[in-house]
Amino acid sequence: MSTLAGIRVVEFAEGVAGPLAALRLADLGASVTKVEPACGDWLRGAAPALPGSEMSAAFFELNRGKRSVALGADPPAARLLMRALVANADVFITDRGDGELGSLGLDEIGTEPFALNPRLVIASVSPWGARGPLADCKGSELTAQAMAGYTRYLGSHGEPARRLGADVASAGTATFAVQAVLAALLWRNRSGRGQRITLSLLNSLLAMKSIHLAAQSDPDVYAGPRVGGASNPPERGWRTRDEPIFFSFGGSVGAQGRPGWVQFVEEAGLSRLLDDPRFDKTGRNSTGHGIDVHELRAEYEREFARHPADELVAIIRKHGGNAATYQRADHALAHAQTRALNIVGEVLSAAGSAVKVRAYPARFSRLRPALDGVAPRLGEHTAAVAAESGIRGSVLAQMLAEGGLATDAEAQCAPSAQPRPAGSSITSRNR
């Protein structure tokens, strides 16, 4: 039996954080109903699209297995359905503010207990946090990275800013939201009560910056250089005859570290480093994030220029060090190690073609997270969900007529017959 079998999740959130959180709950057995604005979750229209489809690849992966209810042009006319959905749910994940939720009939959302459904677990995700002067301001993955200081750890001062290519604020918040929901469900089992949890992209990034916050905490009393500092040059590893590598020696236990570096430098033709006083004899100061790496990197690179990366990685690993080449993501997925973990699976799209998707990111000795389902069309399940929620046909018809809901929203919101320009295949931008 799945962990979350029988758990009903209502997701009223767009983009990445809320939808990814709900996806993971679905993998664990919950049923997810996604409520979307009239023109759909913005991620539907992001680039790139699945081949032969208007749906973005990211939307497909993050929303597989969910049902979609589409609001119409006048969402408050759907109050009755929203209240019914939330009244019958176990979990409500939303990125909407209390004002908007109030207009949809969820006026008591900020009260404790939540009178409409005191057992409900509510996870509210925002860019900047539930309180404070920016509480109602819009935000994004990029702006959260910038405000949390993440862009300082890429590039160089004076150069145009760079972001992390991964959507770390959004995906990180998704994981925290799943934690919050699961912990709140555990507590509900004991107390019988739900509760509301607020999370934000900025908060998540600062939580995940704990090592750096501590290091910067009090410059007047800290000793030693701060590794991985914002003012360091761009980090691109060690050049070799072909691809750059990253490597480290010294281990992680005790003050002295583990052996292996001496044997490595001997085999790699770097024996001269044994007599060089700038190198400690564990590799700790001159490899990895060692404090003298920037000064000493070139000493390794002179010899590494004679060896291919794969050979150096093998020698380093043989002597107990850590090493890897900088792989592209497609090569990472194709690597024998990744394949051994069965990380990539396939689901059949609505059109019947196979789409590759990624499995739940952990494995269990008994639990078997699901890897199935396709992403819904916008409003595909509006009528079915309304019927299931006890909304009579005549009431549904009225909601549709008043613009509270839409059953075929995609047609209404299709970009005004914009043909995709010839030759604009998204994948042609690959490097």
Partner: protein, 395 residues
């Protein structure tokens, strides 16, 4: 540190024998959620104690990764140390370890051994590359996984091959976060089945989870992640623009925000331009789009743009650093940074809790001294400290 906590996991007990970051922050998150977490260090000590910088003699890595824990020292290589470990595991709900694959069996603390003394135990094993496959026994660390997983190949200026994140431990903390999620799932499953289970989390799978959107674009549409400066593959505009003084970061998610953006920059004709009608079209015509916007933004200061974008409902922000965000009212009001008062190492800023529960509030507590609770915890097991730790090997 008092024992009473109010988090949702109050009453849950965790044994954390991990070191460095990916394992320890798992214990820290469970501790912040209210569990009683007992960190078990080897006599040689968790290596993060010596990672620079140190504050009053203690590695700030150690301080930040071991909040909300008790700390005991056991030598698993002695019979007494192993006995204490098994006795302690029998009292716990969760066990966390991140030894290299194969080592834990030699220590006799593998899942099968612990399941015999505690079938309800949720056993969390954190590895670099997973427990099967050709690299199962290879060592790993944050920058290694940034390299292996493709994470670094998505960063840099356009045209660059790669750039690693100069931010030690980000993938470690990602791994810890995924591990915490999985442990909670197993705890919830235990409520139904009455049994614990083994949970395996690898830095590799976590590094792909944090790249969820980029990997989805690769798997679904064949788009290989590559450096785009401050831009993203999915949306446009979604980047930093150079204003008169410094950069303004701005994102347009949908057509409504695009309309607001065009109003904000006082170029309503762009909103009518069919080349820019949808996110996907704006991505396709990114170069023309940027050419139209860049000179406009450059003419006024970043603060001016920040305010006008806020008024028009367009996501925007400025780049901050520690000294500007630590006192920012938004960060303070939401307690995103916690200040913990340690007994020996002074006051330290660490990450605040990422979740704010209305009924079961969580808090960040200062880490313990290494070995501070050895006697207390062993006494609770009916053992004396000298049985488990040879004299002179205490921290």
């Amino acid at each position: 540190m008092t024992d009473a906590t109010t988090g949702p996991l109050a009453g849950t007990r965790v044994m954390d024998v991990s070191i460095m970051a990916a394992g320890p922050w798992t214990g820290a998150l469970l501790g912040m959620l209210g569990a009683e977490v007992i960190k078990v260090e080897p006599p040689a000590g968790d290596g993060t104690r010596w990672v620079m910088p140190t504050q009053r003699g203690m590695g700030t890595n150690f301080i930040s990764m071991n909040v909300n824990k008790k700390d005991i020292i056991l030598d698993f290589k002695t019979a007494q140390g192993r006995e204490a470990a098994l006795k302690l595991a029998a009292t716990c709900d969760v066990f966390v370890q991140n030894f290299r694959v194969g080592v834990i069996e030699r220590l006799g603390l593998d899942y099968e051994s612990l399941r015999k003394v505690n079938p309800r135990l949720v056993y969390c094993a954190i590895s670099g590359f997973g427990e099967t496959g050709p690299l199962a026994k290879a060592g790993c660390a944050d920058p290694i996984m940034q390299a292996f997983s493709g994470f670094a190949r998505a960063n840099g200026a356009p045209g660059d091959a790669l750039e690693a994140f100069r931010f030690t431990g980000f993938i470690d903390l990602t791994t810890a976060s995924v591990a915490t999620e999985a442990v909670l799932a197993a705890l919830l499953e235990r409520e139904v089945s009455g049994e614990g289970q083994k949970v395996e989390v690898s830095m590799l799978e976590a590094a792909l989870e944090i790249q969820a959107t980029r990997i989805a674009e690769l798997l679904g549409a064949g788009l290989i992640p590559h450096p785009l400066g401050s831009e993203s593959p999915g949306l446009a505009p979604d980047r930093a623009f150079q204003a008169l003084d410094h950069e303004i970061f701005v994102t347009v998610h949908n057509e409504g925000e695009w309309g607001g953006f065009c109003e904000a920059i006082e170029h309503p004709e762009l909103a009518q331009d069919t080349r820019f009608a949808t996110s996907r079209l704006r991505v396709t015509h990114r170069a023309e789009l940027n050419a139209a916007i860049e000179p406009v933004i450059r003419a006024k200061p970043a603060i001016w743009w920040l305010r006008v974008f806020q008024r028009k409902g367009v996501p925007s922000g400025l780049a901050h650093h520690f000294e500007t965000f630590r006192h920012h009212q938004q960060v303070v009001a939401n307690e995103m940074i916690a200040r913990v008062t340690t007994r020996d190492w002074g006051v330290v800023s660490v990450g605040g809790v990422p979740w704010h529960f209305s009924n079961t509030p969580c808090e960040v507590r200062a880490p313990a001294r290494p070995g501070e609770h050895t006697a207390e915890v062993l006494a609770g097991l009916g053992m004396e400290q000298r049985e488990a730790v040879p004299a002179g090997e205490k921290a």
